[in-house]
Amino acid sequence: MAARKSSQSHSGGLELLFSNQRKHKVSIPSTSDATTGQPSNVAFLIKWLCDNLMRDPRKEMFVLDDTARPGILVLINDADWELEGEEKYELQAGDEVVFVSTLHGG
């Protein structure tokens, strides 16, 4: 099964959930389901990150209802994922996905 390379980075404190590392280059399967051949999308990436990369047990700080929790912006190649189809966006090799936690301090 071919791997789809994608780099993802964290901002706004989220790196604390991922071994305190800001940038990760990850290779995910190019299909999320071998039988249907469904290409991997962002929903799959989020689940994959939770299962494979997140060291912190508090999954609820990253996901809620199988998607990024409220207060986390998901950016695909410097644009809000809402402009790209949200969870259904199919990842391309080399895509950069950024998870940003909103800040509230002042």
């Binding site: 959930l17 800001r22 609820e60 950016l75 509230h104 301090g105």
Partner: protein, 310 residues
């Protein structure tokens, strides 16, 4: 003989000369600044530098709102206060500094924290609002009140070594008008879990980080106020917003991270959300619900005592 009346006073040509000579400001821009009324909600790490540069630039009326008093732990970043003014209300302390920098600005002090009941009546006295507060509760309230009163909102935040900045409701349009810029609820329809919210007191903050964001808020405010667009004299709808296309305007989020390379990143966010609770045709938030106090922002954002988790 009576001399021809100049649009600015003589001392104003002197004081504002370095920005007046630039085509981006010019005499027209300076007059717009002079006629502008800007409200700064929160006179802390963001509000102090934002107020300094807006007062310096000659904004006609500057409103300062904060119910807190100055603490010694504020002074590493809240540069309009001073050691001698510890325990003084922050709006009073900042005003002493601002008066000495530019006595030609009208300063309005609102010596209390913003509440839903007061928001509409106060925001109506201003043309533009800066959100310099530090909690989701106030961020949703300020955005809602800006939509209901038709004000553009320059919102910034900072924590630890990072900062964020976004200009909302720009151009300002009534709820349901897709040609208005998105509001805070368009970007964040649901509040973050209360346990994920950290204040600067809990998470820490590097002074220049919040300082940079506050100065950039002043700059965005000056850009909005001096833009070529025509604004009706008495605060009604904007007939034109300076944009050349009639496409739904998107917001841009500027992110700053001290130890990242590159430090700054600009990302394109969405336009108004068709089902936004505040700015869409289906809006459920009204002047009445704010003023009556029936909207409970604290309950909406969950527990008020943030837990030190993230």
């Amino acid at each position: 003989a009576q001399p021809r009346r100049w649009p600015l006073e003589k001392h104003e040509y002197k004081r504002y000369g370095r920005q007046l000579i630039m085509p981006e400001v010019g005499l027209h821009g300076q007059l717009r600044l002079k006629n502008a009324r800007v409200l700064i909600v929160g006179v802390g790490g963001l509000g102090c530098p934002a107020a300094a540069y807006l007062a310096g630039a000659g904004v006609g009326t500057l409103g300062l709102m904060d119910g807190d008093t100055v603490e010694e732990s504020n002074l590493h970043r809240q540069i309009a206060h001073s050691t001698a003014r510890v325990d003084m209300n922050k709006t009073q302390s900042a005003m002493e500094y601002l008066q000495s920098l530019n006595p030609h600005v009208n300063y309005n002090r609102h010596e209390f924290h913003l509440t839903p009941q007061k928001a509409i009546q106060i925001f109506e006295q201003y043309d533009l609002v800066l959100d310099c507060t530090d909690h989701p509760t106030s961020r949703y309230l300020i955005s809602d009140a800006c939509i209901l009163t038709g004000k553009t909102l320059v919102s910034a935040s900072a924590l630890k070594t990072e900062g964020q900045l976004i200009v909302l409701n720009n151009p300002p349009r009534p709820p349901g008008d897709a040609l208005g810029g998105p509001c805070y609820r368009c970007i964040f329809p649901k509040p973050p879990p209360a346990e994920s919210v950290l204040s600067c007191g809990e998470g820490g903050i590097l002074g220049p980080v919040v300082g940079v964001m506050g100065v950039l808020q002043a700059l965005e405010a000056i850009k909005v106020l001096t833009a070529r667009a025509q604004r009706p004299a008495n605060g009604g709808d904007w007939s034109t917003n300076g944009a050349t296309s009639e496409a739904a305007p998107k917001a841009t989020l500027l992110m700053f991270s001290t130890y990242n390379t590159p430090q700054f990143r600009s990302v394109r966010l969405r336009s108004r959300r068709a089902d936004c609770a505040a700015c869409s045709a289906q809006s459920t938030i009204s002047r009445q619900s704010l003023t009556s106090g029936s909207l409970d922002y604290v309950a909406f954002c969950g527990a008020t005592a943030p837990i030190n988790l993230l």
